[in-house]
Subunit: 211 residues, 2 copies
């Protein structure tokens, strides 16, 4: 037998206490500290904190939308499976259109990735939703383009595309954009579905608390 913590509540408690010790949350309000803590928890890296960029309205906007029953749009299946269902305040629907039957045709017609094409299938119901990106820079770029072209807007964007081609650029484009949608994002190459789902889970947990 190895000596290790087996109690889930104790594991969470020790994890969050370690993060609190190691990360400097000066300047973070309580809601964003909750978000940042869960994002750090998902990746084991307190050192990412300075790269977390956000609109000060983002946490409130997402919490309000989730309480109002907003659907949650995800750019990939892994994000949908990282979302903790029991935290959702209104049984919110979780939608990923990446594997819809029409997505490859849209991608072929628009000469883009399936991830970007999948965004077009969000637009009917995107207004006041929460949009979550844990993978694809092209999907985030394409959402920005569609909103700039007049598409309806989500209530908030959680943007954690990851990798070497377009990830940093797509997130910087979101930060620099004039679309006026509150966002939470991670500057640079780092990101991924675990961080994206963790941000959403933090906001759901806040939404589930009494106002």
């Amino acid at each position: 037998m190895y000596d290790y913590l087996r109690d889930p509540a104790a594991i969470y408690e020790e994890s969050f206490a370690t993060i609190e010790r190691e990360a400097d949350f000066a300047g973070f309000d309580a809601a964003m500290q909750t978000v940042a803590t869960r994002v750090i928890h998902a990746c084991g890296m307190p050192e990412i904190l300075p790269d977390l960029a956000y609109d000060p309205e983002a946490a409130n906007a997402a919490v309000s939308a989730l309480r109002a029953g907003a659907p949650i749009f995800c750019d990939c299946e892994m994000v949908t499976h990282g979302i903790i269902r029991r935290f959702l305040p209104a049984g919110n629907e979780i939608i990923c259109t990446l594997n819809n039957p029409e997505t490859p045709d849209i991608a072929a017609k628009k000469k883009t990735t399936r991830s970007a094409a999948a965004i077009d299938l969000w637009l009917d119901r995107i207004e006041n939703s929460v949009a979550v990106f844990g993978n694809a820079p092209t999907a985030l770029f394409h959402l920005l383009e569609q909103i700039e072209n007049g598409a309806p807007k989500p209530a908030a964007i959680l943007a954690f595309p990851v990798g070497f081609v377009g990830a940093a650029e797509s997130k910087q484009a979101l930060i620099d954009s004039q679309i006026n949608v509150p966002y939470i994002t991670m500057r640079g190459r780092k990101g991924g579905s675990a961080m994206a789902a963790a941000a959403l889970n933090a906001l759901s947990s806040l939404a589930g608390k009494s106002e």
Copy 2:
């Protein structure tokens, strides 16, 4: 319109070329370079390479098992959804027992996490399988304990538990163990389902190539 790469093949090519430029693969054989490249691709961090620890037999052992139709056991749903089905060389079954109806009862009886309890439901079919951990240190510890207690062994273990409590320790326990099962792992706190799935996907892609 933003200026960004939209062609999936070109995106992969540029990603892998960036990794090749930035990571020092000296000492890696071709198979392990493929694995390491995909793990780095999944997290955007070439700097993790020195923390990748592995048995020199691991890639071959996993490739042979996958070709022989080995089932793939995963500690969490996110890993199962990161596995690229079309790469699998023998339509290999992907199994996650975390949400099996009997798992909470086993956890309560053994006073451990659901993640650890789920391992007990692997044991009937674990022999010569590939075991993949992208989340839970307790699950990896519990598998080590079960094998040390005489349970059958998988063909290979891909171990990427992540976080602040037990992750580094469980992976070090695997490295130090005498169970004689080839492994690929990431030392320290870093890991996660994307890295774990990426390692499996790399091995599947190798298994799909002609011998």
